[in-house]
Symmetry: C2
Subunit: 429 residues, 2 copies
């Protein structure tokens, strides 16, 4: 199963370098990414232009290995959320590290995953778009080995899906899971078990659909704490057990129970360990995505490994290097990275280190440096007046929120600790 | 001059459709964009998937024409800021509408512009990146018709630039303009005329550089109002006049004075009309970018046409159509567009209209609809409990800030008022 995707992502190394890829050395124009990787250029003096986002080879390897072990030890199937990176090369690494499949949020992301040969896709949303449903159905009919699941949370949605799939002449049934909302005021998903039953009954009436499980997202539990999150997860499990007893999963060879972002997978592991025996084998599916690169702020604060440090710890794998283009006053400096390059929705970047343009020396930590704001193309840095930071120096920025970092970079060099660029990761947003 | 870029952007219509382009009809896979455009599909039932960002053909035409007339009437040269759209097809339209050249913010954007044959580029930043300077210098040496300007605002920056260009063996001098900061606490640029003189003297010592003017960005004037902005613009003009008298522009065949975002071009027009005669002809260069699509919130509030309505008015040209995927409670609905699709830095999207999935009917305005928040892939909509909005309906969202809209869409359909998709615009971020 890994072979197809391996071949298809390898083809990305054959893409030719041109103006489409920011930060890639201009003098590498016309080379393939594979050829550039083989040159083993250094990030700092190999012709890369600033700003440049870098993925740490060591941290990435570590994080991939850690969640592989974690999910195996907790007997969880794993469909890492692909929306985080939208990088098929990382999907391939995740699958090679034992992942069951890839989660996506919208049909376009499923198209990208399918284009690279992903065989199992969990789409964590209801899909009521007729054109997208036709495409999904055609994929199912064309490939008996393709597994696809998505949410349902309304009778109206079920009716639209059924109508669209039947109109498109799709032969295979579309597998759906009922989404349970995480609480009052939370995001999508039915609010009550009674609503869930009504949706399940609508699915039973829909000849194009088949109900195979339940799912939700504990990350949206209001005022989350370990007890509230576990309470909701137990409710999700009880819903599955009740549906099973009522025969709502009669058509399913396997019953899917899925939850799990990157903030509460310890609670998911605990509660899913207590899932009772059901009428068919249960696929306990975790969907964490941000773990793959972790971060220096938001996920650093909320990672479950803060609660279970004996089970490991993730490493921040993304660093944004930007260059000082102005220091107009002693306490202000401006970097050439902005909203186009760095995430700003869950906290601003954090200056971590300076690389001197004079001698290449590195210094950290940076006391008294803060990012005051981001413009479209500038970072506003506040710093101590006595700081020797100069125009031309490079500044490493720690970032908050992988999802809104990846989507700003069509191409991300992977580099080793010493700066050697060993691979190039393409993203598709 | 328009011919080259016209040919090169026309080649984009030959690109083949595949998974790289969200919202584009899945059943158009394998067609070229030119072939898809020729099919004249309708946005609403032509197989486009949601969410889909749409550029209004009529509003775009209007805005392009309005700034062409405005700059001509005020005798301003125009280098619209390309960082807004990073869409060479729009650059070509802007040049065809009389623009002198294209402004960019960083060297990568200049690479994109050059790849499509833009002959005059104004880079509104200091560039101290040696790899980028080498590329710029090679472009200059390879094409005597290529005009390139960028900022200088520090002696250290001038020294780094000179060193890098000389090390790269560049023969043509790089034209630079001194950046004047917009005030205390403002962004880049020298704070005082004395600092400006020191930088000008450093340029005079640098054999690889030539000082040809002054520039700045009045959008960063602290607590801006018409009087403060005009005062700063007069200071910029006085700086140019003083530099001219002092012989700092001795090597320039043309003296460049540049300012102007999308909030104060009326003030720029006023003050630049009073630029005195200098020792060489003066290029009065305006750089507004956001005008090309305008918006429904931020720029709608701050556009100069609010002060000078007799000179015209811009039209919002971007609309994001998203689909209702859940309505879990009477006062909540969720759309399938999120931070990946809509800007959120200068205000959240505004629901403008609903297109019924039942009969295609359109209704607006939407009383009592607000966007409460955006998740990565969801819009949280709050609405009146009695609202008939259903799962499957499409909602049109007005947006705030073109720059952070374009950068979320590699491909944007252009559609007429009736929904006919007539062209496809590629962006390069």
């Amino acid at each position: 199963m890994g072979i197809d995707i391996g071949e298809r992502v390898a083809a990305l190394d054959g893409e030719r370098i041109d103006h489409r890829y920011k930060a890639v050395p201009p003098d590498a124009d016309g080379l393939t990414f594979g050829e550039l990787a083989a040159q083993r250029r250094n990030l700092f003096d190999g012709g890369f232009t600033t700003p440049v986002l870098v993925l740490s080879e060591e941290a990435l390897d570590h994080n991939l290995g850690l969640l592989e072990r974690y999910t195996a030890e907790h007997a969880l199937a794993f469909a890492p959320h692909g929306k985080t990176s939208m990088a098929p090369q990382l999907f391939a690494r995740q699958l090679a590290h034992g992942a069951w499949g890839i989660t996506v949020a919208v049909p376009h992301q499923a198209r990208v995953a399918r284009a690279f040969g992903v065989r199992r896709i969990f789409l964590a949303n209801e899909v009521v778009d007729a054109a997208a449903l036709r495409w999904i159905g055609e994929q199912l009919d064309a490939d008996p080995d393709f597994t696809f699941l998505c949410y349902v949370d309304s009778v109206r949605g079920v009716e639209l899906m059924d109508t669209a799939l039947r109109a498109a002449g799709i032969r295979r049934r579309l597998d759906v899971v009922l989404e349970l909302g995480a609480g009052e005021g939370a995001r999508t998903g039915v609010r009550t078990e009674a609503e869930g039953v009504a949706v399940a009954e609508a699915v039973a009436r829909a000849s194009a659909l088949r109900l195979v499980g339940v799912a939700g997202y504990e990350g949206e539990v209001p005022d989350p704490d370990p007890e509230r999150v576990r309470a909701w997860l137990r409710r999700l499990v009880a819903l599955a057990a009740g549906f099973d007893r009522a025969g709502h999963f009669a058509g399913a060879a396997e019953i899917v129970i899925s939850a799990g972002g990157s903030a509460w997978f310890d609670a998911v592991a605990d509660v899913f360990a207590g899932i009772p025996e059901l009428s068919s084998p249960v696929l306990k599916l975790l969907r964490s995505g941000a773990y793959v690169t972790h971060d220096d702020d938001h996920y650093r604060r909320i990672t479950p490994f803060n609660r279970v440090p004996t089970e490991g710890s993730l490493r921040p794998a993304l660093r944004l290097w930007a260059q000082v283009v102005s220091r107009p006053t002693p306490t202000q400096a401006f970097l050439n990275a902005g909203k186009r390059d760095a995430p700003y929705d869950l906290g601003l970047p954090r200056p971590l280190a300076v690389r001197s343009a004079r001698d290449g020396s590195l210094r950290d930590p940076l006391d008294g440096f803060t990012v005051a704001q981001l413009s479209d193309q500038h970072t506003w840095l506040t710093l101590p007046a006595a700081e020797p930071l100069e125009v031309g120096d490079w500044v490493a920025l720690g970032l908050s929120h992988p999802c809104t970092t990846f989507d700003k970079w069509p191409l991300i060099p992977v580099a080793r600790e010493d700066g050697t660029a060993t691979a190039f990761i393409h993203t598709f947003f």
